[in-house]
Amino acid sequence: MNAATAVMERQAFLPNWPKRAAFAALGLYILYALSTLEFTWARFMRGLEQGSKFLDRLWPPNFAPDKLMLMSEGLLESVQIALLATSVGILLSIPISLISARNLVPGWLSWIGRSIIALARSFHPMIVTILFVKAVGFGALAGILALIVSSIGFIAKLLAEAIEEMNMKQVEAVRATGASWVNVLVMGVVPQVMARFVGFSAYQLDSNLRNSTIVGIVGGGGIGATLFTAYQRFDYDFAMTILLAIIAIIMVSEVFSGWLREMFQ
């Protein structure tokens, strides 16, 4: 009898009161936040009505030749912005991630690398674009520079993490052969992180293609300015054409990046 109650009382897990309290607090805050936003059902319904009118005016898309010319110019520039920003971003990300990986370099150096990455990640690409538009003027260059910064923020961070998660025993075995630091990188580190690096880069290309279509709104070149103007002039049918073209580009890049990842598995 005594033994049985003792068994009943033995728990596999301790109750985590701080965690429970944190979840309760989060729930209460969400309720409070909703209450301050004056979010009402009537307003939601009115919005739906407005939305359906808007959708109505989007269709059919406008395929007039002069509109297509205007669009293709902007789109081409967007694709160029994305490709250039991704290429340069990748090239700059490699050394930055190497000096950020704590298992490859001394602490003080990785601290510098990490600071560069943190700085590159601090601001949304749109804010960075505004900064570069002020610095180098309107046009594609500002967009390219802004997307290079965000590419570094993403690729260098994830690549540095991939390097830190790699199997150090394999690296050590290469080092034990008397290989130099760079040789250890080439034969011990690169093979372990290459597939993930290609994955990050392909994803960043996708992301840059999407971002290159909006940097134009703040003067960074590409299709964004055209799209924004179309909205402002209530040329919703032309806006639709642009949206469809952007979707097509993203889908093509999706296929391309999938194929790239496959190749480097």
Binding site: A179, S180, M187
Partner: protein
């Protein structure tokens, strides 16, 4: 004559003098190890887990840095080398690792050729421009360990025993004057372990280079080594021929006797 003999054996012999290592200050793992390894033969280091066997072997090629002491090899104190000089010393010391430690995403051939990295610039390694004679030698090494037909396979497709044989081929590709083996059989089944030991001992014997094996399997140590070094608590407590290793030595090395068959 004596002088000729010493110059002949000196390139291969290894002398450890008062070697100490502590990962945490005040808690030494190795306590003033003095050990001379002659220029040939198989030396097995046995002892319980956590006694510093692995640390000792890894100090020799400086994968672990000793806290103090000397590691004399080929006229240098390896303990004091750094940079290029250390890498040149490492080239001459092959190592076979506990979990094979092949670069799994590289092919078997690339892993074997990695043994030549100490002899070539990085851009050539990047372009995979290995010297033709190195490639031929790599095939000879793979022949010797019986894995030529696996040359183009990725290392992660191999079994444990096959991987360890690739590990041996990689170490010997360095043209080492000393072969270190850190628990080379502990991840292998008993039969494969014996096969791997046989290949390693045979190939080292053909090259007439000394082998230092850190191993926890006493039977394997007695079977393959011609010298046994027993360690416990960071000190050498036995040093002699396998036939001289008696139960009371094992009791001292591992502590107690209850674990022995005949106890």
């Amino acid at each position: 004559m004596i002088e000729a003999h010493t110059t002949l054996s000196e390139p291969y012999s290894l002398v450890l003098r008062k070697l100490c290592n502590e990962y945490v200050a005040g808690k030494p793992v190795l306590k003033e190890i003095d050990l001379t390894i002659e220029g040939r033969g198989i030396t097995a280091i046995i002892g319980p887990s956590g006694t510093g066997k692995s640390t000792l072997v890894r100090c020799i090629n400086r994968l672990v840095n000793p806290t103090s002491g000397e590691i004399l090899f080929q006229g240098h104190d390896i303990a004091k080398l750094s940079g290029l000089a250390l890498r040149h010393a490492r080239r001459k010391i092959g190592m076979v690792h506990q979990e094979y430690n092949l670069v799994e995403r590289l092919s078997v051939m690339e892993n074997v050729l990695s043994g030549r990295l100490g002899y070539m610039p990085a851009w050539k390694a990047w372009m995979r421009m290995f010297a033709p004679e190195d490639i031929q030698k790599a095939y000879l090494m793979l022949d010797a360990v019986g894995l030529s037909e696996f040359a183009m396979r990725r290392a992660d497709q191999l079994s444990g025993g096959q991987r360890q044989r690739v590990g041996i081929a990689r170490a010997l590709m360095q043209d080492p004057d000393l072969l270190l083996a850190d628990e080379p059989t502990s991840s292998l089944d008993p039969k494969t372990a014996v096969e791997v030991m046989e290949i390693m001992v045979k190939l080292a014997g053909e090259r007439d280079i000394p082998v230092i094996i850190n191993i926890h399997n006493v039977e394997l140590a007695k079977r393959f080594a011609n010298r046994i070094v027993g360690m416990t608590g960071g000190r050498v407590v036995f040093d002699g021929a396998p036939q001289d290793l008696k139960d009371h030595h094992l009791a001292e090395i591992y502590g107690g006797e209850s674990w022995m068959d005949n106890a």
